[in-house]
């Protein structure tokens, strides 16, 4: 492998373009999120030259990769799916590969991954050095002002979600808060860990028993919930329903009143039921 020296040094503006990302966000060694990128023109794998970024695009996505590397292939496959998903949107895609790899090797990995974007050749790793890339694969996303808005090294888990989130952020489809939610997804609780799940189950069972006219057991289900969760509105309604069905209107009224205090919506339905109880 030989690294050809770059002919012209790439100018890189390091003007800070405002905080578009939390300052601790990891980034390239020489360029941080929020910095404005230079826009060098690089030779294309299939001939001709093309700029790294485009003013016409709202999101500029550039992907550094290398052949003979499992993560690069895995990442390019994921990115190929993203590329298809964003077709028709103002997203400018390029892949960047070192000039030290043979065109045949590069074509092989590109073909296997199925990416459609042009592949730019980084002569003598000049762009790699200017940005301080260090890792392969890595994705950079810049906006139409060429501010770097995201830096994404490869991840085994949720890689696609993260890339998609950053592109949508550059396209202004989602907010920074949305991106943070995508990057740090909520814990997936098990049914019994979920707040109110077990209590709700008892209430549903009680409602079913009510339909079966088993009022005592329906009331028992409600009381079971209220023992541990006295502020459970639907349990008060269930108990009210069971008591009303048994003609215990005064007690039912108390339960409906408690439900109304907890949630006015629950109370309005109870009013009709109480009327029916009184008429019985």
């Amino acid at each position: 492998m030989t690294a050809r020296r770059r002919s012209t040094p790439l100018a890189l503006s390091l003007l800070l373009a405002g905080a578009v990302w939390p300052p601790s966000t990891p980034a390239f060694s020489n360029v941080a999120v929020g910095d404005v990128l230079a826009n060098p023109e690089l030779p294309m794998l299939e001939g001709g030259r093309q700029a790294l970024l485009s003013r016409q695009a709202q999101a500029n996505v550039f992907v550094f990769f290398r052949p003979r590397q499992e993560h690069s292939l895995e990442a390019l496959k994921a990115i190929a799916a993203c590329e298809r998903e964003f077709s028709g949107k103002p997203v400018h895609w390029v892949a960047v590969v070192s000039s030290s790899w043979s065109p045949e090797e590069v074509r092989t990995v590109v073909g296997e991954a199925g990416i459609q974007m042009p592949v730019l050749v980084d002569e003598g790793d000049a762009l790699y050095g200017t940005l301080g890339v260090r890792l392969h694969p890595v994705v950079g996303v810049a906006n139409e002002r060429f501010e770097l808005v995201a830096y994404e090294p490869f991840r085994k888990i949720n890689y696609c979600d993260r890339i998609r989130g950053k592109i949508r952020y550059a396209l202004r489809e989602i907010s920074l808060a949305d991106v943070e939610r995508i990057d740090a997804p909520e814990r997936a609780l098990f049914p019994n860990e979920m707040k109110g799940a077990v209590a709700n189950r008892h209430v549903r069972m009680g409602e079913a028993l009510l339909r079966m006219k088993d009022y005592d057991r329906a009331a028992a289900e409600a009381r079971h919930v209220l023992e541990s969760e006295p502020l459970h509105g639907p349990a008060h309604v269930l108990l009210g329903d069971a008591l009303a069905a048994q003609g215990k209107c005064a007690e039912a009224r108390k339960e409906y009143q408690s439900a109304r205090e907890l949630d006015p919506k629950l109370g309005s339905a109870a009013k009709e039921k109480l009327g029916a109880c009184g008429a019985r």
Binding site: D125, H136, F154, P185, A188, G196
Partner: protein, 366 residues
């Protein structure tokens, strides 16, 4: 409790009309989300109640109280008939939390298709009304994971302790790929945050909560909560469940292959190029000092000679010292970052300074 024999006959009759309630029949049309799923979405299971005399560990409340008509057309335990609603909709009537669970981004196709693929709707010898022991049940379909778990040289205790597969995965739905309940790092630190955790060979394992609290410079995969970038979770042939080879010693002859773990992300040219002004900042002018230290036929210093792999106090993941020799003596590295490069002093060598940028350019790059 209803008579089990009567129930079995009734269920057999019910099955004639409503196959979803009993033994799984041939594959139902799979849902769109399951189309690309490479594992079966249905298994052959027995959804009948346990035979009489067998003690159940868990009993579904309506079955236990004999309220057959909560789920079936008839309240007669001898002949409950078909179920009131087809598929999971019946279960979700009471288990409403599943509206939220199954709205999560990643869903387990068998759970989408039929709760009864994994759960018995009547009773079970297992917790959670499962048909079989949880991990065995998972691995009945996920045979590749079973193979890794059984044949790997290095095992992971998470697979054999606690909730086993459910220590990390939610078999219904999750917001993270692979149905992980949390990002890998949060999963790992859940257990690897005590001083007395030992591996399956009895070797004491790092308390990562403590390590990371004391060392603020995190290696990118750690910062990204992506432990799985370097570690396998079900089993590995490499020490510490590493995904690929990584030298365990201070010295090693340079060979691309033994650094497969590092080069999974880092550029191997950092060590193979004698001269560079772009590939690394650990250079004196264009003299690549990674090449100088590592790329040797015999006593090449390995990555671990100078770098921490999880977290460090110093920039560039430089370690403060490294255990050297068999006695465990810690050789200090004494690295200092300077405006134009860095210095290492009183370490393997006397003070040596490298310069990777001119003072005039300092501040123009990070």
């Amino acid at each position: 409790m209803v008579s089990r024999n009567a129930f079995l006959i009734a269920i057999a009759l019910g099955a004639y009309f409503e196959p979803g309630a009993v033994l799984a029949r041939p594959m139902a049309p799979v849902q769109a989300a399951a189309r690309q799923y490479r594992y079966p979405t249905r298994r052959k299971v027995d959804n009948r109640p346990l035979p009489q005399g067998v003690t159940a560990a868990t009993v579904h409340a309506p079955y236990g109280t004999g309220d057959c008509s909560l789920c079936h057309k008839s309240s007669d335990p001898k002949n409950p008939g078909p179920v009131n609603k087809a598929g999971n909709a019946l279960c979700y009537e009471c288990h409403q939390e599943f509206e939220e669970i199954m709205a999560r981004k990643y869903k387990h196709p068998p759970a989408l298709e039929a709760c009864t693929t994994c759960h018995n709707a009547h009773d079970s010898r297992q917790p959670g009304l499962l048909h079989g022991e949880l991990a065995s049940q998972c691995m009945e379909c996920h045979k590749n994971i079973r193979a890794v778990a059984e044949t790997s040289k290095v095992k992971h205790g998470a697979l054999t302790s606690g909730k086993r597969c459910a220590n990390c995965h939610n078999p219904h739905g999750a917001n993270i790929e692979k149905l992980l309940t949390a990002l890998p790092f949060d999963q790992c630190v859940g257990c690897h945050s005590v001083d007395d955790l030992k591996d399956w060979n009895g070797v004491r394992l790092t308390n990562f909560k403590k390590l990371l609290a004391e060392n603020g410079k995190l290696h990118a995969p750690v910062a990204a909560k992506d432990c799985s970038a370097c570690h396998k979770t079900h089993g590995s042939d490499s020490f510490r469940l590493l995904v690929a080879d990584y030298p365990s010693r201070f010295y090693a002859p340079y060979d691309l292959k033994i650094y497969a773990l590092c080069y999974g992300c880092h550029n191997d040219k950092v060590v193979s190029e004698r001269e560079t002004t772009t590939l690394t900042n650990f250079r004196d002018g264009s003299k690549n000092l990674h090449y100088v230290h590592v790329n040797k036929l015999e006593l090449g210093r390995t990555c671990r000679a100078c770098h921490e792999v999880h977290a460090s106090k110093q920039p560039h993941h430089i370690r403060e010292g490294v255990p050297y020799g068999q006695g465990g003596w810690v050789l200090k590295i004494n690295f200092t970052k300077t405006p134009t490069g860095g210095t290492c002093a009183k370490t393997c060598h006397d003070r040596k300074t490298y310069v990777n940028k001119a003072l005039s350019t300092v501040g123009k790059s990070r």
